[in-house]
């Protein structure tokens, strides 16, 4: 047993902030990757990249809003 117990950390808050923080970048990243490779495949550079980036950003922001409202209600 350790000499000194570590202070209890509120992991719930950290987990909430981390998950909210991940929502936007992950959605943007997925949209950009999809758009980039679809553009390469269809030769439509840069339109599909733009479209999927916007879709990713909007979906990320939407899920962030949902996460925040859930966070607010808890």
């Amino acid at each position: 047993m350790p000499n000194k117990l570590p202070s209890k950390i509120n992991y719930r808050k950290i987990a909430a902030i981390s998950s909210l923080g991940l929502m936007l970048p992950s959605s943007i990243a997925v949209g950009l990757f999809l758009g980039y490779y679809l553009d390469k495949f269809f030769g439509t550079h840069p339109w599909l990249l733009l479209v999927f980036f916007i879709l990713g950003a909007v979906s990320g922001f939407y899920s962030l809003l949902r996460g925040l409202s859930k966070f607010k209600d808890e």
Partner: protein, 180 residues
């Protein structure tokens, strides 16, 4: 109680630094493996990711302040939100005083459905929305002028993911030690 907050704050403050360090390491490796411009974009993505995490944290702290605080008061020299918390007293930035009504009197708020929470949420979202517009503008610039390096920027922007994973593993291991 203050120990809890300082521990959380330590972890939350450590995350942006770790994102920067990780993106710097990846950028350094890609100077030799790819090219310096790609390395620059990876580091820029990491820096931007760290910045967006700090912005999000501030927005959530603003929200939490209104959710948890029940006796806010103002003292000179105390700032910013949730960074310093003594017992149940919160110290608020000058610009946010209007949310509390009178200046010097401690005002009880967020009892049940308070309009302050709505206002706080709205202001936090508005600030984050402005920052989101900035993020989108930067992505647009990169897409139009440096479209070949967009993947490098996104790779840097995604360094947040392994950092969170590492922090989760560290947290879990600490919890296990604490219980055993």
């Amino acid at each position: 109680m203050t120990d809890n907050i300082s521990e959380e704050e330590k972890i939350l403050r450590r995350i942006p630094v770790e994102i920067l360090v990780l993106s710097f390491v990846i950028a350094l490796a890609s100077i030799f493996l790819l090219n310096p411009l790609t390395a620059l974009f990876i580091f820029a993505g990491g820096a931007f990711s760290a910045l967006s995490f700090i912005w999000l944290k501030r927005s959530i702290s603003r929200l939490l302040l209104f959710k948890n605080g029940d006796n806010p008061s103002r003292e000179k020299g105390q700032s910013p939100f949730l960074e310093k918390k003594r017992g149940r007293h919160f110290y608020v930035k000058k610009g946010d005083r209007h949310l509390y009504g009178k200046k010097e009197e401690p005002v009880s708020f967020f009892r049940g459905q308070s309009p302050f929470l709505k206002k706080a949420l709205r202001s936090a979202l508005a600030l984050y929305g402005i920052r989101l517009v900035l993020i989108i503008a930067i992505f647009f610039i990169i897409i139009f002028f440096f479209s070949r390096n967009i993947i490098a920027f996104v790779a840097g922007f995604s360094t947040m993911v392994p950092v969170f994973l590492a922090e989760a593993v560290i947290g879990l291991s600490r919890m296990k030690q604490w219980k055993s």
